[in-house]
Symmetry: C2
Subunit: 307 residues, 2 copies
């Protein structure tokens, strides 16, 4: 029996993870802070605010999982980088892993972040050698969680892997973020301002990110694993692809927005561990992934949801 | 108004901190997980199990502190180094500092540990340059707490200092630890086994540790501060002093116990920050402090309490 407790199961990544988990033979207990009504019937759903006192222990007691895929965190666009909400999420995550281990859980995979790395270090970011020096409270809390649960898991007999997410896009993304903001502006025939766009980044479609997490959970690799395509691109290249597909080149205003002071020139991973040890590769090319995102936002636009 | 919330107020250090806090003009709200009956009437006492769900927020709401002195943690002798109890204590401490900051708290001092340092680095341990690389879950959780609350405090307008405790002794110490084990054996006329005793350590009397924390809280220094005497000694020298005072040299069996595999040869701090920036120095010499500990254990022995 493999029974996975997935947190954030109706979130951006979580909702995409249910199918790949099922395909790998997991029985799924899905936790969401929101409404579990009309959610995917392939999972058993539990409505749970992980920040509520005692919630983590109750959730584990109810789910009785052999595996844990912990994706839930505070993600309000812009505010999540340095919001105080990161502290209760760290506390709740520590309690969740502690309860999971104490209940005999066997393997846990947790969502980490490229924000753990020192962004001023040479790229690509490598799990084995790039220093961890977060520039944000979000990154600081993720790094703290990694260090604490790693030390505990080794002694508690829990196999722990840690998927470091870089950039991603896809259905249900926060509309104000980079890819949706461009797509939505161009779909509306409005100017699409951006920074100079020379920053190098690594993008994955969210369905691929979720598939990578499911693969990681179903394997035996432990420790941090970068989740990325391994093919860094410039933001301007991403924007140009979108603009071409939407006949929006005239709307694209590269350089109209100032670079944020903390925005690094480069932020992309080495993916050797993911490719060679986990044995995973993206199914969608950058172009195919962006085309899917465009199609999804177009469908939302047509339905009048994202106006 | 200076109103301090002190946690662990009936603990080894906490019980010694009330008087120096009062002397510095603090109004004291004292929290203990144990019984607050018959506790020092100079403080307002709150019985609070900080690990109970929601406890940290309720405690802050009830105490309404301007200052926080957070000493409470899991300290069971031997077990605390790698016990899972460190995880809920980390979670509760994060919640406590978050609640304190959210309620407008001005200054917090938290008990850190020499266990945060890389014990294999050259000594003395310096706050500014010795790498943090904990060898235990206890040290890992303390280091994680430091990094998270430091990042948060800077943005939340809370002045945060972090007192790194080295070795200490005194009244109410856990009887199985080094100094009490020797004193009690010799008081009973029984053999007092120890390791070879060549390890270099820094000892303070617990009353001095508590006074250092009160001084740190009442000042303006932020960041980590080593709490020590600055005069490292060998364990054998400490043992010999105790044996001489108790006519127990014949009972002292140096080398009878094997060195623990993780026991470092050296573990002592540079105390320049404490001495020059905080402006604090121990009031008790090593000999005077040990004599006080001997006197206290003798009084316990006479009373039949520590048999």
């Amino acid at each position: 029996l493999k029974r996975v407790l997935i947190t954030g199961a109706r979130g951006f990544i979580g909702r995409q993870a249910l199918r790949p988990l099922m395909q790998r033979g997991f029985e799924i207990v899905a936790s969401t802070s929101g409404d579990a009504a009309n959610a995917d019937p392939a999972a058993r759903w539990i409505s749970c605010d992980l920040l509520a006192p005692g919630a983590a222990e109750r959730l584990v007691a109810e789910a009785r999982p052999t595996h844990l895929l912990h994706l839930a965190w505070y993600t309000d666009h812009g505010k999540f980088w340095n919001g105080r909400e990161n502290l209760p999420w760290l506390a709740a995550s520590v309690q969740l892993v502690d309860a999971f281990a104490a209940a005999g859980g066997r393997r846990a995979v947790i969502a980490g972040s490229c924000a753990e790395y020192d962004w001023s270090a040479p790229h690509p970011c490598r799990e084995s050698s790039t220093p961890l020096r977060p520039h944000t409270i979000y990154g600081t809390c993720k790094k703290a969680l990694l260090e604490v649960v790693s030390a505990h898991a080794a002694r508690a007999g829990v196999a722990l892997a840690w998927g470091r997410i870089f950039l991603l896009h896809g259905p249900h993304e926060e509309p104000a973020r980079f890819v949706p903001s461009l797509i939505r502006a161009m779909l509306a025939g409005q100017p699409a301002p951006m920074t100079c766009g020379l920053q190098q980044r690594d993008f994955l479609h969210v369905a691929d990110v979720a598939d990578a997490f499911a693969t990681l959970l179903d394997g035996a690799v432990t420790g941090p694993v970068n989740i990325g395509s391994g093919e860094p691109v410039r933001l301007l290249d991403v924007a140009t692809h979108i603009a071409r597909r939407l006949d929006g080149l005239a709307l694209l205003q590269a350089g109209a927005l100032p670079a944020r002071p903390d925005d690094p020139d480069a932020l992309y991973p080495d993916v050797a561990r993911l490719r060679d040890e986990v044995g995973w590769a993206p199914r969608l090319s950058l172009a195919a992934g962006l085309d899917d995102s465009i199609a999804w936002w177009r469908s939302q636009d047509t339905a009048g949801v994202a106006k």
